[in-house]
């Protein structure tokens, strides 16, 4: 009996190792963790596999004994109950043995963890700020910054009952307008923070997941080995559109990355020039519609009708049809104690002028107003002066602490 039990245990243990391996090999991208493209991600993956196999062996052992017992020690087979009910020896054995296994596992896990937490020697830094529901990337060494959010086509498709065929998207809900572009082979430091609620920036292939906490800065790092596109998601529940704030990282060889940096800087110069010139009404409305689609439509909806009880309408609203000052204040500084956020730093003067012009001339609003980038600038300047003479209440606090 004892030998047959041993054979049964061995067979189950063997199966428990072979079957999962076969399965993992075939369906890697839908059933298992990615190996990733960094040294850390490979270490994490191997820890994951090791602990998984240990669990399989323990589980198989326990279940084999249990099912053998269920099969052999049943009353219907005439089993007579034994009377033993304690043994200090076996209790000690099955306390010590798992403990030893744990120590064997804790050692490599601690080594990987220590390596993950070693932020020294980084060659460049990107500050990543989470917003409801987009990411802001700030290349601290390059003076490049931009927002990144769900691609507009995906955003349209994900609306309830949109009727859009989802199969046309190869990476449904994992495509953004502006990907984070990074060079390979460099130790990149990430600084994580948030502007409203807690988010978590997660890219499985880099084994990077860190909470973005408003008012605090978290650190993390990655050194990417291979060029490619790596996709992730916000991992911490952050409100209505938590499921719709993907992360896309485009890793480029150093020379291509340098070219991208040069392009990006040229773009910034053009934007600066744009903010100085006079825009036509038509141009503002057209640009503003795009800004609206990217920033406002989530709450205020496609027809500016809002969602009653939650998000106010823009169509026919007092703000969009009333004083320009009030409209500027609402958009630039948000509305305290409500989901309406401050856009003063998220959009540039041209975008702000465009979206306000659009809102005042769409959804049945017919103010006929045209707001130039220079108007936004003078509103900001006027405000700066009044703040300077005021007792000085700054509604936007700066990120001050680190933990």
């Amino acid at each position: 009996m004892r030998r047959s039990l041993l054979r049964a245990v061995m067979a189950v243990v063997a199966c428990s190792l072979v079957l999962p391996s076969l399965a993992l090999a075939g369906y890697g991208d839908t059933i298992d963790m990615t190996t990733g493209v960094t040294e850390i991600s490979r270490s994490v993956h191997s820890l994951h596999r090791t602990i998984f196999y240990i669990c399989c062996i323990i589980g198989a052992g326990v279940f084999a004994v249990m099912f053998y017992s269920i099969f052999a020690h049943r009353k219907s087979r005439g089993a007579k109950p034994a009377t033993f009910h304690e043994s200090t020896t076996v209790e000690i054995i099955w306390t010590i043995v798992p403990f030893a296994i744990l120590i064997g596992m804790a050692w490599p896990a601690a080594k990987v963890l220590i390596k993950m937490e070693d932020f020294s020697g980084s060659e460049m830094t990107v500050k990543i700020t989470g917003y409801q529901w987009r990411w802001h990337y700030d290349y601290l060494d390059e003076d490049i910054q931009f927002y990144s959010q769900l691609d507009a086509a995906h955003n349209a498709a994900r609306q309830r009952d949109s009727g859009v065929e989802l199969e046309q998207f190869e990476h449904y809900l994992k495509e953004v307008d502006n990907a984070l572009v990074l060079p390979v082979g460099k130790k990149i430091r990430f600084l994580h923070t948030a502007a409203d609620v807690i988010h978590a920036w997660w890219v499985p292939a880099l084994a990077v997941k860190k909470d973005a906490i408003p008012g605090f800065i978290n650190e993390n790092w990655a050194k990417i080995d291979e060029p490619g596109i790596y996709r992730g998601k916000c991992a911490e529940l952050c409100g209505r559109d938590h499921g719709f704030m993907p992360v896309v990282v485009r890793a480029l060889p150093q020379d291509e990355y340098d070219a991208w940096v040069a392009d990006k800087k040229a773009e910034a110069t053009t934007a600066k020039l744009d903010a100085q010139r006079e825009w036509s009404h038509k141009e503002l409305v057209a640009t503003g519609e795009g800004v609206y689609q990217r920033n406002c439509v989530g709450c205020h909806q496609a027809e500016g009708q809002g969602i009653p009880g939650m998000f106010p309408a823009i169509a026919g609203s007092d703000v969009a049809n009333g004083s320009l000052e009030k409209h500027l204040e609402t958009v630039l500084h948000g509305v305290g104690d409500s989901p309406m956020q401050a856009y003063s730093t998220r959009l540039n003067d041209s975008e702000l002028a465009a979206v306000i012009t659009f809102q005042r001339n769409a959804f049945g609003n017919t103010t006929g107003d045209t707001i130039q980038p220079s108007d936004v600038r003078s509103y900001r300047n006027g405000q700066m002066q009044s703040l300077a003479t005021d007792t000085g209440y700054f509604s936007n606090f700066n990120v001050t602490g680190a933990n």
Binding site: Y27, T30, D32, M33, T34, S43, V44, L47, H48, I51, F52, F63, S69, I70, R74, K75, A79, K80, P81, A82, T83, F84, H85, E86, S87, E91, T95, L102, A109, A110, L113, M116, E117, R158, R160, D161, L166, F169, L173, K174, W202, P204, A207, D211, G215, F216, N218, E219, G232, A235, C238, G239, D241, H242, G243, F244, M310, P339, F397, N403
Partner: protein
């Protein structure tokens, strides 16, 4: 053990009052136990319906049925209802029914408090569920209610906090009652180390509740003052820290998950020896393991927070302490298997559910061990892998233990045997569908699907469809459970006092159905 049945002539006024007043005014532990159990059965379907809304939306990619905000409030409410409205009250109901009978006590130590702790619950849950019909909607920031997100909620937030306070008061009062009963009402000769394991696990659970519920109450009160009274406990703008909330919450939240499973350990430790016809293996080590788990549960809380940016030393400490929990938990599983070993087993429905519990709880425990490995946990965190893990320990874990307990003690409660065939069908259908429901969640989680999302990438479509099929199958299978209970209440083969051939313990020495008053004269324990 024997019962001394004493007869008194002056006890007829102790019978149940007629009509609704019986239930409203009752101080009888059996009546109150029944109300707790029925309440949790009803809430099981309420919370289950919410789960089915979630699974219906997730059946295919794209948004079809609900708005993302409502989806979030379904995930939040599903958790609140299942934890505070189903598993906790059901265990309290079992404690009410069984602990006095297991200890040879005539009733709970504090019967009027007992009535009050029950009647607060329906009231608190009415308030909680009413938020779903308010303008600003139900809570949608997750049952963990992390600020600042949860502070964005409308004014229904105040109702949620109010309801939580009342649920907490109910739990703490219930726990005090259980502790008082166990320490004061044991029959002569019922020493601590003779108590059934169910009583032991409940004693330890009651202490966990008394220690942690006030912490939770403090955390939600701080949220309330941050929201309405201008404090900044959790806002960096005023010098506070959102992560401090998470520390306080999980200092409650981690012991809470053991509150949801320790009584289950006690139930399984009663059922397996009965159907193996062999005493529980390692009684003493089971008691010590339970106590160790309870102690460890207080020093592992931050393993829910490995991505919040804690210092390395803290991460290492919480990794090691978390791994340690698997030692006493392992001891329990090994003891159950050793109890079965060389027994003389039969597999009536309670035993089927108990065996199902051991197998599937172990699967959940092993994925818990994987989650303890911090570098890997950082990848698992907030994915469906975690959802799979805690549903394995809570559904085929805690919920299966409750079903096992119901089948096990129902003949004692009603005096009738339940329909064994239907019971077995219920077990097999539930087991098949619960695995279809939760097993694929391991896969999509590892492959990168975050939790708490109403829509997902196409690569996860197949597994989500399978999980949804499992959800509806499992949900509708519970109608069999209700039917078995109704059928058993109405009639059936009369149960003997002993009910089960291998049953051992004071509760099996009284008549079936258990009379309204039991052990008015304490039994003698030999």
């Amino acid at each position: 053990m024997s019962t001394a049945e004493a007869h008194h002539d002056d006890h007829d006024h102790h019978g149940p009052a007629p009509g609704f007043k019986r239930w409203l005014y009752t101080t009888n532990h059996k009546d109150i136990g029944t109300m707790y159990l029925l309440f949790s059965l009803i809430m099981f379907f309420v919370g289950g319906a919410m789960a089915l809304v979630i699974r219906a939306e997730l059946w295919t990619p794209g948004l079809q049925i609900v708005d993302p905000m409502f989806f979030n409030s379904m995930t939040t409410m599903h958790a609140i209802v299942m934890i505070f409205g189903v598993v906790m009250p059901a265990f309290v109901g079992l404690a009410n029914w069984m602990i006095p009978m297991m200890l040879g006590a005539p009733d709970m130590a504090l019967p009027r408090l007992n009535n009050w702790s029950f009647w607060i619950m329906p009231f608190a849950f009415t308030v909680m569920l009413s938020t779903l019909f308010m303008d600003s909607g139900g809570p949608a920031g997750g049952w963990t209610m992390y600020p600042p997100l949860t502070l964005q909620m409308g004014d229904s937030f105040a109702f949620v906090v109010f309801a939580i306070h009342f649920l907490g008061i109910s739990s703490v009062m219930g726990s005090i009652n259980i502790v008082a009963t166990i320490f004061n009402m044991r029959a002569p000769g019922m020493t601590m180390m003779k108590m059934p394991l169910f009583v032991w696990t409940w004693l330890i659970t009651a202490y966990l509740l008394i220690a942690t519920i006030p912490v939770f109450a403090g955390a939600v009160t701080m949220l309330l003052t941050d929201r309405y009274f201008g404090t900044s406990f959790f806002s960096a703008a005023g010098g506070g820290d959102p992560v401090m909330y998470q520390h306080i919450f999980w200092f409650f939240g981690h012991p809470e998950v053991y509150i949801l499973i320790l009584p289950a350990f006690g139930i399984i430790s009663s059922i397996i020896p009965t159907f193996a016809r062999k005493p529980l293996f390692g009684y003493d080590s089971m008691v010590y393991a339970t106590a160790s788990i309870a102690f460890l549960s207080f020093i592992v809380w931050a393993h829910h927070m490995f991505t919040t940016g804690m210092p390395l030393a803290a991460e290492l400490f919480f990794m090691f302490s978390t791994m340690m929990i698997s030692v006493p938990t392992g001891v329990k599983v090994f003891n159950w298997v050793a109890t079965m070993w060389r027994g003389s087993m039969t597999f009536e429905t309670p035993m089927l559910f108990a065996v199902g519990f051991v197998v599937m709880f172990t699967i959940g425990g092993l994925s818990g061990l994987m989650l303890a490995i911090t570098p890997a946990d950082i990848q698992y965190h907030d994915t469906y892998f975690v959802v799979a893990h805690f549903h394995y320990v809570l559904v085929p874990g805690a919920i299966f233990s409750l079903m096992a307990a119901t089948y096990y003690w129902m003949p004692k409660w009603t005096g009738n045997m339940y329909d064994e065939k239907l019971g077995k069908i219920h077990f097999w259908v539930s087991t098949i569908f619960v695995n279809l429901l939760f097993f694929p969640m391991h896969f999509v989680g590892l492959a990168g699907m975050p939790r708490r999302i109403p829509d997902y990438s196409l690569q996860f479509a197949d597994w989500n469809a399978i999980a949804s099929i499992g959800a509806f199958g499992f949900g509708f299978a519970q109608l069999i459970f209700v039917w078995v209970i109704i059928k058993c209440y109405r009639g059936g083969e009369k149960a003997t006092d002993q009910v089960w051939e291998g049953a051992d313990g004071l509760e099996w020495t009284v008549a079936s159905p258990a009379p309204y008053h039991t052990f008015e004269t304490a039994p003698e324990i030999k």
